[in-house]
């Protein structure tokens, strides 16, 4: 399945866009997505952290992803 991924902060610079599409197997988890992203964009490995938001909530590694989810890359936050 093809899933759309929103990019913010430094991840926007790394993927050179506000969003990208990634191909995932049915039944893929957040961990699978992270592995795929890190192999396509090795610069992600240099970040202090990279979390995945699924439908505007932080997603655990074992959370299942569906193609209708809103998925976003959350590099280290720095509000305030």
């Amino acid at each position: 399945m093809k899933v759309k991924i929103l990019a913010f902060g430094i991840t926007k610079d790394i993927v050179k866009n506000n969003s990208i599409f990634i191909d995932l197997n049915e039944g893929a988890t957040v961990a699978d997505l992270k592995n795929k992203l890190e192999s396509e964009f090795p610069k992600f490995k240099a970040l202090k952290s990279l979390l995945i938001a699924v439908n505007e909530e932080y997603g655990n590694d074992d959370l299942l992803i569906s193609s209708s989810d809103e998925i976003a890359l959350i590099p280290p936050v720095a509000g305030g």
Binding site: L6, F8, G9, I10, D13, A46, L47, K48, A53, E56, E57, Y58, A72, I74, P75, P76, V77, A78, G79, G80
Partner: protein
């Protein structure tokens, strides 16, 4: 319910601490504690020209609301305001205002500190520092 006790704003326009203080005012409150962030003119000795804040807006608002609800649940607090700016900020401008009213001052201090500490950990807002020659996403790398 918690409506009427919580006020969350994320906006590109200047923040007003008057609006924030007016929201928490309450004749049964004994103390109001606020935290106001300001853009510093330097980081590690390097002169800062301006900051740029980017937010994942819907999620940032929901994480800010979670913090406010948790503050009310965990501390003896009347009302809490969490306001954050987005976009370009100059030195001296205000990216964040948190104001808490409580019957007793200890709870107000604890809740306010909890709110700003948690905001910096969980709310999806990113900050880019622009220096004279270069720019950097704050905290991105170890």
């Amino acid at each position: 319910m918690m409506d009427g006790k919580i006020n969350i704003i994320l906006q590109a326009e200047e923040l007003s601490s008057d609006i924030a203080f007016n929201f928490v005012a309450d004749n049964s409150a004994g103390g109001i504690v606020s935290f106001v962030g300001t853009v510093r003119n330097q980081t590690n000795g390097k002169k800062v020209i301006r900051l740029e804040f980017e937010a994942y807006e819907k999620m940032a608002l929901s994480e800010m609301r979670k913090i406010a609800e948790e503050a009310i649940k965990n501390f003896d607090v009347f009302k809490i305001v969490i306001h954050h700016r987005t976009g370009v900020l100059q030195v001296g401008e205000i990216p964040v205002v948190i104001v808490v009213s409580a019957p007793h001052r200890k709870a107000a201090f604890e809740a306010c500190q909890f709110a700003i500490d948690t905001l910096k950990e969980t709310v999806p807002i990113w900050k880019k520092e622009i220096f004279e020659n270069g720019e950097v996403w704050v905290s991105a790398h170890p």
